[in-house]
Each structure stands twice: as C-alpha cells, then as structure tokens.
Amino acid sequence: MTDYGHDLLFGTFTTPAAQPVRHAVDLAVLADRAGLDLVTFQDHPYQPRFHDTWTLLSYVAARTERVHLSGNVLNLPLRQPAVLARAAASLDLLSGGRFELGIGAGAFWEAIEAMGGRRLAPGQAITALDEAIRVIREVWAADRPGGVRVDGDFYRVEGAKRGPAPAHHVNVWIGAYKPRMLRLTGRVGDGWLPSLQYLPGGPADLTAMNAQIDEAAAAAGREPARIRRLLNVAGRFAPTGRALLDGPPEQWAEDLAGLALEHGVSAFILATDDPAAIEVFAAEVAPATRELVAEERARTAA
C-alpha cells in the first residue's frame, strides 16, 4: 500500500485532431465546465492529422476558465528547451497559473528526423531530457543572478537571459516507463505520467515502478511523496461491470480509489473523445472516487 496523500485530480486526454477543427477545443471547454482539473493533449508534431499541441494548448487556455493544461506529454526533440521554457512561462502567465509541463524524451525517431529533428539513441534521449529540464528550470528562475548556463551534451545554453518566470510553480511531469527514465523522474520530476495501457502487467506494474522512483528520489535527497503519480486511463461505461474500468460509474470509482490507495495514483486522466464519457467522469466518477479515498484516508489516519 502506497498512498502519497495528494489531493486527487481528474482530467481528460483528448485526441488533438485537426479535423473537425474545434473538436478538441469543444471537449476541453466541456471538461472545464464539468469541473475537471486537467485537460491534456498528446504531442506528435510529425502527425499532420493533429493540431500543433502547443498552439492548441494556448488557444484552449484562452477559451477555458479554471482547468489546468498540460502536454501529455510534450515531444522534447522537436521543441527547443529554452524556447519551450519561455513559452511555458508565457502560457502560465496568460492563464493565471494553469499550465503544467508534461514532457517526454521522445519516441518515433524516424518521424522526428523526418521533421528535421535530431535522432538520438534512447540513452542519449534521457540525458537530453535531463539537460532540457535543467535549461527550462534555469530560464524560469528569473531571480537568480547571471545568465543561464547549461553545458550539456545535447543542449548548450551559454548565457541566455533568464525569464520570464511563470505565474505559479509549473510542475514537470515526466512520461516514463524504463528504469533510467523512472530514476530521472525520481531525481528531478514533480510528477510521473505513464499510461495504464502501456503497462504490460497492468496496475500491478505500478508497485515496482513506484519503488524505483521512490528510491531515486531518496537517493537524491528528495521526499518521494513530493512526486505526484498521474495515470492515463481508458475504459468504457457499461451497465454491468466486466473488467477494470469497464462497468458503471460506481465501479469506476472503486477501481480508481483502489489505484489511489494501493498504488499512490493521485491524478486520473481519461483518454476519450466522447463528451458523454467526460460528463460521467466529471459528474459521477470523480466525486465518488474522492469520497471513497477520503473515507479510507480518514479511517487509516484515525
């Protein structure tokens, strides 16, 4: 049992389809109005059937009021880290502190190269992500003296001016699966953002992966509980329960509460393009899950 005690967040993971043009915007506005906490979009700049994720996030931020926004996760290899840092700070400033930085090391290297990006081996890509996060946080640290200097193997920043600083502490959430990425997450991340469907063993895999993050955090002198565990989930609403996240909303709430209490997941991001599912998730699943988790937390605290 691992519960890191974070408040629960609920969000959406919607396809950033370029057609219909406003599909993703409309679903984000719906999520905002329905009271969800997060709206996230995948980022595959080599995919012409999708909107540019950064442009979409910025536009959606302007059309929403309360919801926080993040890439899920941003494609670092095609986004220059110093520019990304300023863009992220800008979006956070414009939105009044509603931006979070979900980021990944990149995959689909052939497509990245096709777009003019640099092909990296997996190990190199992790090093590059580590360097990029340093660059980004240094740019945000507008109060520190001197320019930004990061002399990395992949990103070299030599004296760039710092700033602007974001409006709030922008969380860096890392999409990670393999041991080195998990260790990086434990060492520098504010959160971990995997997809349940990519865990071959299902939720059971979370135990060992959480442990790797926790160990790396502790080794870096960080409190493991600082690192929020987020999870992209998919499923369907059905009148009778058949499997994990395949059943009525009450069953979903139990499933998610289980993931929260046993695996420390504190943010559930629903992969869907169905407005009805978003409404059920916001109106029924989220409050019921929060209630179950609160009861259990109260019980164990007592």
């Binding site: 057609q19 442009t55 986004r79």
Partner: protein
C-alpha cells in the same frame, strides 16, 4: 511618379508582448479589434526575457478575439523547427478561422539566439536560414502534393515529413527586415515586406521597393503581388512638431506619400497606448483613405485580390471577374487554399471551376443569376455533399454550396413546426430537436445535408413508424431558375410543392424547409452481426421478420461479397421507436433470430445519438459512385436468390436493403412527386464497374423491382427516369418543368425534359 501596388489599404497595431503584465497585450489586441483595425501584430525578440513568447500569446489572443487578423513576426527562426512552425501556423489559422499572417525575420540580436542554444550564424547565413525556413513552411503546407517532404538546405533538413494540415486560408508570408539579401528574398518568394519606418526611413523604403521589384521581375513575378507593410510610430500633438508628431491632419499628410508614392499597403501603428490607437483609428484612418482615393487615379480595391498563381488555375468559360459582389468574398476557385475542402463530395471526386457559397436567399438568387450566364457549364447544387445521384460537384463547372444556410429554428412548439436551412446536417437537426423530445426521421447517416435529402425523399430509421422525411414537409421557400423567390405549400404554389417532394432538384434551390416533426422519446437501437453463410435464407427470414414487426421497428441489412477464408457476415441494424426496454427487446428478438449471431449490441438511446455518427471534416471522395437502386414489395425467395447471385458475382461490394413500408405506404401514391408507395424495401447495390453492375442488376433484380429511389441511382441511361417517376407523375413533372425551368438550368440530377407542348410563358 505614383508607385502604388493596388492593394486594399489595411491598418494594424504592433503591440509589445510584455510579460510583466500579460493581460495588457491581450487587452490591446482586443481594443484593436474593437477599433476596427485589420490586424494586430507581435514581434519576437529572443534577447528580451521580459516579453511573452509571441506564438503562445498569438494563440491566446486568437482565443479571445473574433475577427481581427493576427500577425506574428518570428525573428528567432534558428531556435524554432520550421516544420513544427508550419504545423503550428496551420493549427492557429484553423483555430482562428483563417486569421493568421506570418512574418519571418532575422532579428537584431543574433548573439541572443546563440545564447539560447541556437546556431551561430553570420548575417548572410541568418538570411539564408530564413529563406530556407520559408521554403520549408510553404512546402509543408502544400497538401496538393502527396509525397513526403524532403528538404536539404544549409540550415534545415527534412527527411520525409508528412505535409499538412491544410490551413483555413492562404496564410500570407512576409519577411521582416531591411537587409538587402532579405529584400531580394521578398521579391523572389514572399507575399509581403514588413519594414520598420523609423529604422528604414522613407529613402530606405524606396530603395527597398526597388530591390524587391527587381528581384520579383527577375523571378517572373508581378511586383504588385507583394504587399508592403510598414510599422510606424508617432505622437499626437496639437501642433505639428515633426514627422508623425502633430495633429491627425499632419499624420495624414505624412502618411499619404507612403501609400501613393511608396506603395505601402498596410500601416501598422506601433503603440501600447490606447489613446494613440483610438485617435489613429478614428481620426487618421478615414481621412487617409479619402486622401488616398483623391490622390490615386482609381480607388483601391475593397477586397484582397488573387495572385497570378491563383488566377493561373482558373478554368475556361467562367467569368471569374464578374462573380456577384455579394458572393465574391466566399467564392472558392481552383487556386484557393479552401479549394481542397470544397472540390469533392462524400463519394465523388470533383474539380469544379468555381464554388459559390451563398449565405442568404438573396445570395442564392445572385448565384443562380451567375449560373444562368454560364449555361454551357455543369451546375451542381450542394447541401451536405453526400448526394449519390445528385452531382454536387463536377469538372470545370459551377457548384452552388448552400452549406451556410444551416439555421434550425422552432417556429411553433404546439404544432411542432420547425424551419430548417438546406445546409444543416441531419445530425445537427436531431441534436437540435432532442431537447424538445422531438425527432424527424431522416436518412441513416448524420452527415447528410438537409437540402438534398428533403427534396428527394428521406428513407430513415423511423420510416415504418413515421414515414418519409418529405411526408413531414409542410412548406418550402425556394429560389427558382429565373431567380424568383417563392414559397410553396399545400396552399401556395401547390403544384410546385407537389414537385419539390421527390423531384426538387429539377425545380430550384430550396432555402428553407418547414417540417412538422414527431414526438420521439428514447429509442431502442440494435446492431447485429449475423451469420450470412446462407444468404438466401437470411434475406428471406429478415424480410419476413421486418414485415411482421410492429411499425415501431425499422431495419436495414448490409451484405458484401463472399471473401476467401472469411465467414460471411451480414450487418443488421434496427431502430425501435419505444422507450420501453421490454418492448424494444420483444420487437428485436425475431430479427436477432433470423440467423446465428456473431455479435450484438442493443442500447436504449436517443435518435440524436444514433444520428451523431458522422464527423464534420471536409469531404475527400474520389472517382464516381456506381450504384443501382430499386424498390421491392417483399423479399421473396426468388428475389433473395437473385440478390445472392448478384453478391456471389463479386461485382457488388456493398449491398444494402432498408425497410420502407408502414407509414410510408399510408400516403397516396399521387400525393407528391415521390410515388413509390406500396413497397416494403429499398435495395441499393454499389459496384466498381458501370457496365458489369448494370448488366447483372438488369438481369437479376430488374424483374423484381418496381421503381427506384433517385437518391441512390447513378445509372445514366434515360430509362431510369421512368423508373424514378411513373408515367402520370412524369407527365406532370414535365409540364411543371416547362413552367418553372423551361431552359433546364437544373439539369444535373435526374433531369426532366420540359414538355414543349405545354410550354407556357410564366
């Protein structure tokens, strides 16, 4: 000497993207929109950490404005991937509804680019890099080309990127700066030059124009295609103190020569002061426009012209320059960016010479007037673009797309009377009626447009319970071939109202339909995948089960040809208009029992959610659909045997039977032009080869069918007209054709020949 390039005079603001007060640039952009400026621009500066990232800001502003165009001058090109910038530009243009204008520039602080992790470039390389980036962006957005983009420049390399997405409009690409090399690039490849007057100066402007014009001519371009934009700054004062420093009249005096002598087409005021913005918009702009019109031999155009490259794609025989003014802004011709979205329809590839997109009945009349002047060309009328018989696209002709006439309005709750534009789609209609507890049975696909279906018939998911769509029609408003706007109902132009219901495409363009809709609550919706290894038995049993079912139930069956090594499966769909789960299940059970099942799904849902089965992207049909259509009374063993042989031939790839009958047959056959009352089923076959499909259909099914549904028939042989309309109906239609469209303007969809004997002068 006068050197004006003949562009529409535009005005903009250049706002500082301050990060310390992020709401300020947003408010200034909104104020610019309110004041009527054409565009608001932001310029980036990588050396300036107190500024917002302009791309993020521009996208945000797009979300907070409605009309104003949005210009970014990106001067940190080496820090941005041009391929990603291209996709970003297309996205922002799409999201903003075609409001993006993009400048690229070198910037004043190359060392800041380097400090941020960019490459070290000398001034020559920096310009070269910008030129390459412009090439990459252009090529990325050129979705006419299907091949992956490979680019090998000194600064940018692409190894096979997919192109797209297609932006909403032609994004103008400008270059920002006054370096001589950059100016030559403007002349060879950009749409505009963005200069800073304070820096370039009037002499520099003249010299720059000269370089651009020469480079353009050397590249075979007309220099007039290149818009000249300058940012200006100044102060308003009671008396003239200097250049752009004085009362508005002095500003006008100072700016006039820039426009009439130096050909500046866009003046962009660099200011963060709303007072300056307001005075410029209210006191300088109108006076300057007047002064310019006085100074120039001819007034400047009001709309943006098309470039030579766009005009080069025009088709012969169309008077493009005579498109009525009311339609000019929305018309699409082959060289336009929007063309890819409008050329084809759902099932048919097309290459029309001109697509007119009227927004009002008056504009429909204008479009028809234009079409009358082009009788030698094909004319298509398009609502949703799903027509199979209706050629809502063509090759080299005119298309009148009424998609913008898409309003849905409840006229009277008590009588459930609704008024619907022809451009609305049935999924939108269903969604709009749902909150009232109403529905109107339409086709089986939500993407279909109202106009085409509601002038032809409308065989939908509640046909047996509620009849055809046109059975609910109470009145239409339409524009006739001669441009007359009329209303038709049982009491007004009743002949026309009779004809519109089944042969509407021959008589005019309907601009509004009035329907009486039904009260419909939740419905049962079933999809079965059934074993079709015995197609004859399956079809016969399905047909019998449908006929035996209460009228609540309407069903369809879809079959394909046998495929090697795969089980034969038929898809059966059915709607039961009942909100009682037990009734739904009871009525569906006989259908489920007609053959062993592979899969089944039954839900209690809304008609609106069943119809929400389409997306609203543009159509990309290719080729021509090859179909046959026929009504049959019953699925007899003989018919089923013939259908099975048709399927076994491999000539048909999609075979579809829908139930009609029930309430459809309550209407007397002569009540309207649609005359196929009495049949219980409608059969459609899609094939890949015209001759083979026709031969087999004629041989196998021809003897079983009585009549056809013209919406699903593409056989061009003239005898099909007699299948679509029985003799008495056809006679009456021919007489009416000679009254309403004697010269056959509408001749592309089951054209009825006027009855010359009864030809009268209206």
């Amino acid at each position: 000497m006068t050197a004006n390039y003949g562009h529409r005079l535009e005005f903009g603001t250049l706002v500082t993207p301050v990060a310390t007060s992020p709401a300020t640039p947003v408010a200034l952009a909104r104020r610019s929109e309110e004041l009527g400026y054409d565009l608001v621009a932001f310029r980036d500066d990588p050396d300036q950490p107190a500024h917002l990232d302009i791309w993020t800001l521009l996208a945000w502003v797009a979300g907070r404005t409605e009309r104003i165009h949005l210009a970014a001058s990106v001067r940190s090109v080496p820090l941005r991937s041009p391929a990603v910038l291209a996709r970003s530009a297309a996205s922002l243009d799409l999201l903003s509804g075609g409001r993006l204008e993009l400048a690229l520039g070198v910037g004043d602080a190359p060392e800041a680019v380097e400090a941020m992790g960019g490459p070290r470039l000398d001034p020559h390389q920096a310009v070269e890099s910008v030129g390459e980036a412009l090439d990459v962006i252009r090529d990325m957005l050129d979705t006419d080309r299907q091949d992956a983009l490979r680019y090998s420049g000194a600064h940018h390399r692409l190894a096979g990127a997919e192109r797209g997405p297609l932006p909403a409009h032609h994004i103008p690409f400008w270059l920002d700066g006054d370096d001589g090399r950059l100016l030559r690039l403007v002349g060879t490849k950009a749409d505009g030059w963005l200069a800073t007057l304070d820096r370039t100066g009037p002499d520099g402007l003249r010299a720059g124009n000269k370089i651009i014009d020469e480079a353009a001519r050397e590249a075979g371009r007309d220099p007039a295609e290149i818009r000249r934009l300058v940012t200006i700054s100044g102060v308003f004062a009671d008396t003239r103190r200097g250049f752009l420093d004085g009362p508005p009249a002095a500003w006008v005096e100072d700016l006039l020569p820039l426009v009439v002598e130096d050909g500046v087409g866009t003046l962009v005021v660099a200011t963060d002061d709303t007072g300056t913005m307001e005075r410029f918009a209210r006191e300088v702009v109108p006076a300057l426009r007047e002064a310019v019109d006085r100074a120039l031999p001819a007034p400047l155009p009001r709309t943006v012209g098309r470039s030579a490259a766009v005009r080069a794609k025009r088709r012969p025989g169309i008077a493009y320059d005579e498109v009525p003014a009311s339609l000019a802004d929305t018309a699409v011709e082959p060289g336009d960016v929007a063309y890819a979205r409008v050329r084809s329809n759902y099932l048919r590839g097309g290459a029309p010479g001109l697509v007119l997109r009227p927004r009002t009945p008056a504009e429909v009349a204008d479009a028809l007037a234009f079409a009358r002047a082009h009788r030698h060309l094909p004319l298509g009328v398009r609502s949703g673009g799903h027509g199979i018989s209706g050629r809502s696209t063509n090759d080299g002709g005119i298309v009148i797309d009424v998609g913008a006439l898409n309003e849905i309005e409840v006229l009277d709750r008590a009588t459930r009377r609704v008024r619907i534009g022809p451009g609305a789609r049935w999924m939108d209609v269903a969604a709009a009626l749902h909150p009232y507890g109403w529905a109107l049975t339409s086709g089986d696909y939500g993407g279909v447009g109202v106009g085409g279906l509601a002038t032809a018939g409308g065989v939908g998911w509640m046909a047996r319970k509620h009849g055809l769509t046109i059975d609910h029609l109470r009145a239409v408003e339409m524009v006739l071939a001669d441009g007359t706007r009329v209303r038709a109902s049982e009491t007004e132009n009743p002949d026309l109202f009779w004809a519109v219901r089944g042969a509407g495409a021959n008589f005019g363009v309907v601009t509004a339909f009035e329907f009486e809709v039904d009260e419909v609550g939740a419905v049962g919706w079933a999809q079965f995948a059934l074993d079709a290894s015995d197609p004859v038995g399956l079809l016969t049993r399905w047909g019998a089960a449908v006929e035996a079912a209460p009228r609540d139930l309407t069903s369809a069956i879809i079959m394909g040809p046998p495929r090697m090594g795969q089980p034969r499966v038929a898809q059966v769909m059915a709607m039961v208009d009942s909100d009682d789960p037990e009734t739904v299940v009871r009525q569906l059970q006989p259908l489920a029992d007609v053959a062993p099942g592979y899969d089944q799904q039954v839900v209690l849902t809304s008609y609106a959610s069943v119809m929400a089965n389409a997306t609203d992207g543009p159509h990309h049909g290719q080729g021509e659909p090859i179909t046959r259509s026929g009504f049959v009374d019953h699925i007899t063993p003989d018919f089923a045997e013939a259908a099975a042989r048709l399927l076994a031939s491999g000539v048909v790839y999609f075979f579809h039977i829908r139930s009609v009958g029930g309430a459809v047959n309550d209407v007397p056959p002569g009540a309207m032009a649609w005359s196929h009352r009495g049949a219980n089923f409608h059969v459609t076959a899609f094939g890949r080869h015209r001759g083979r499909l026709d031969a087999l259909w004629d041989e196998l099914l021809g003897t079983h069918q009585r009549g056809l549904y013209l919406s699903f028939e593409t056989d061009p042989r003239p005898e099909r007209l007699r299948d679509a309309f029985p003799p008495a109906t056809l006679d009456r239609l021919r007489a009416l054709k000679s009254r309403y469209d004697p010269d056959r303007l509408f001749h592309d969809n089951f054209a009825i020949t006027p009855d010359t004997a009864s030809r009268t002068t209206p």
